[in-house]
């Protein structure tokens, strides 16, 4: 069951930290308390921040070069021999380039490999589509035995890294390049598979993961000014997903909006919708990338361009509520005519 979590008060100056930065720090802390933890990277240690671990524990860090497939295979071998490997690279390579190695050597074997995937989504920015992973959630959640976690901020990333190490089995951790607001306090409780209710509400539930959690909170505030009461769920674990929290949201609010920095096909919204249609069908509106590749641009520009802002969540919430009331949303029908 979802519980109301602690969201930091409306501090004047919101602290911003990239989840990849938190990943690097967390690996070092973890390395201190768990000698079984080893870290691998594929020539991106400076960017994924696994380089922090390399500096702290050079003997337990393995630079694999530009060879992601080799890295995952090696991680599987290390895990089979009792180590807890964290294999790090960009999400686009971690899930895409290496899909078969992850499927065969990690998923099928249910080995204790943790995949630290950074630079997910379009907020990679200027590097463009080749480096912007918009399909990794779909790929990773389709592998049996795989746990998929998408932390929303630095605190949650730190807790997710420790929780992943504690849990025995394959885990995919999806993190970002850009700085994102710190949403949670140090005493924030994180449990794999348990959604966290950040705001309660009765008209609609916004279910978000990763970088979309902060805009989801903003959207709920904006909606409250219109007299709409929006519940916000942080669904940090995409798999196994918190079915109970979704079903409760459907029952209590009757309309759902999902928000992800990922293709809406097969991704997070799809995961939520799978639960909704098989429990208590209510309108679901998905905010996400509409089955296109990204492109070069500034992260904020791209979020705007691909419709991933709090404003887009607000519009989606209005549409979901209108559908709940049996009214076709004008915005939606205009859009579908154009397509």
């Amino acid at each position: 069951m979802a519980e109301v979590g602690e969201v930091k008060g409306e501090a004047k100056e919101v602290k911003k930290i990239a989840t990849r930065t938190a990943y690097g720090k967390a690996l070092v802390e973890l390395g201190k308390v768990n000698p079984n933890v080893v870290v691998l990277d594929a020539d991106l240690a400076k960017s994924t921040k696994s380089g922090d671990f390399m500096k702290a524990f050079p003997d337990r860090f393995f630079e694999m070069g530009i060879a992601e497939q080799d890295m995952i295979g090696t991680a599987a071998g290390l895990a089979a021999a009792g180590k807890i490997p964290f294999a790090s690279t960009f999400a686009v390579f971690a899930a895409g380039r290496v899909f078969d190695q992850v499927r065969q050597a990690v998923g099928y074997t249910k080995l204790n490999v943790k995949i630290g995937a950074t630079h997910a989504g379009v907020t990679v920015g200027e590097d463009g589509a080749s480096h912007q992973s918009v399909e990794d959630i779909a790929l990773m959640r389709s592998i049996p035995n795989m746990t998929v976690i998408v932390p929303a901020d630095a605190v949650e990333t730190q807790k997710a890294v420790f929780a992943a190490a504690e849990y025995y089995g394959p885990v995919y951790l999806r993190m970002g390049r850009e700085e994102v607001p710190v949403l949670f306090d140090e005493d924030y409780r994180f449990e794999i598979g348990k959604a966290v209710m950040l705001r309660d509400g009765k008209d609609v539930t916004i279910i978000a993961c990763g970088v979309m959690v902060a805009p989801a909170l903003e959207a709920s505030e904006e909606l409250s000014r219109e007299g709409i009461s929006a519940r916000v769920l942080n669904m940090h674990t995409v798999k196994p997903i918190d079915r109970e929290a979704i079903e409760t949201a459907a029952k209590e609010t009757g309309a759902i909006v999902t928000a992800e920095e990922h293709n809406i096909m097969g991704g997070f919204g799809s995961a939520v919708a799978e639960v909704v249609v098989s429990t208590l069908p209510v309108p679901v509106e998905m905010v996400g990338i509409k089955d296109v590749f990204g492109q070069s641009g500034k992260p904020a520009e791209l979020l705007e361009y691909y419709g991933l802002t709090s404003g887009n969540i607000v519009e989606a919430a209005r549409r979901a509520i209108a559908r709940k009331a049996g009214k076709a949303s004008p915005a939606r029908s205009r859009r579908s005519r154009r397509q």
């Binding site: 530009i66 060879a67 080749s130």
Partner: protein, 287 residues
């Protein structure tokens, strides 16, 4: 060794200089990008686009053109600078590099940019695509030649060696590869990250015709390309010794300049070093 006219060499050297100038301007304007590996391959691109390749920039999809594949896609600024200089699109457009809506994406996009033969950015995949083009040319009985440029760090990708076997097995003598052997990748030197050991020996063992050249010596690059045309029944690779960041003193040999844009002052300094005339007020004119 063939002799080349001094004026021809001077012309290509000037093209290489302009490619370098535009790499710096474009990355400077973008505020991000990869100067080191772009500068290291500028001379090879200058020889290809202004001497060796049979191309018609006004007809980027001309059937009988030679093709170049930038397998190390992060060196897109070098490719774009060469394409612009050759006339595929206006030089001014280079300043839109990496901006929202630009035809010049952070990594080469064949759907957007005239002259880009295939999209790259995920390392290790260019040689396979080059093989496909070389096989197609043979099927179509065309005498077009296919050129591909790989990074030395990129050689750590297994797919490169899968492709290297294909090129030889298919006797792709219409294919020539260059290795931009600058000794550096992101996390450090190639030697420290994952040593290639005897890289020439590796290619030779795979059945390639192998040459070692100085990748900044225009004559040596030209000679290598000519030699490759004479080799029948197998592909040729030129392992080109280069300096990452070549031409800009503070970038040369620096691993930190792999993926970092120069700031305003550094752009200015770099352009002066590259012999660019600077007009008052910091504006820059093409030399």
């Amino acid at each position: 060794m063939a002799t080349y006219d001094d004026s021809l060499i001077a012309m290509i050297e000037e093209k290489a200089r302009r490619i370098r100038v535009n790499i710096i301007k474009a990355i400077g304007a973008a505020g991000s990008g990869h100067p080191g590996g772009s500068l290291s391959c500028a001379d090879i691109l200058a020889v290809l686009y202004f001497h060796a390749m049979r191309i018609d920039p006004k007809r980027p999809d001309w059937e009988d053109r030679d093709k170049f594949i930038m397998s190390k896609g992060h060196a897109a600024p070098a490719l774009y600078a060469a394409l612009a200089e050759a006339g595929y699109f206006p030089v001014e457009e280079l300043l839109t590099l990496r901006k929202l809506g630009s035809r010049l994406q952070g990594h080469p996009d064949m759907k957007k940019t005239p002259g880009v033969e295939i999209s790259t950015g995920s390392l290790g995949q260019g040689l396979s695509a080059a093989n496909g083009m070389a096989i197609a040319a043979k099927l179509d009985k065309k005498d077009t030649r296919i050129y591909v440029l790989l990074g030395d760090g990129e050689l750590e990708e297994g797919q490169v060696w899968e492709a290297a076997m294909t090129s030889v097995h298919r006797k792709l003598d219409n294919l020539m590869a260059f290795v931009d052997y600058n000794g550096l990748q992101i996390d450090g030197s190639v030697e420290d990250v994952k040593s290639l050991k005897a890289v020439g020996e590796k290619w030779r063992a795979f059945g390639w015709h192998v040459m070692g050249i100085d990748g900044h010596d225009i004559r040596q690059i030209m000679t290598a390309i000519d030699e490759a045309k004479q080799i029948k029944g197998k592909p040729t690779v030129a392992v080109a010794r280069t300096v990452k960041g070549k031409g800009v003193s503070f970038m040369e040999g620096g691993v930190d300049w792999h993926g970092k844009a120069p700031n305003r002052d550094q752009v200015y300094k770099a352009l002066v070093e590259l012999g660019e005339r600077i007009v008052d007020g910091g504006g820059v004119v093409n030399g």
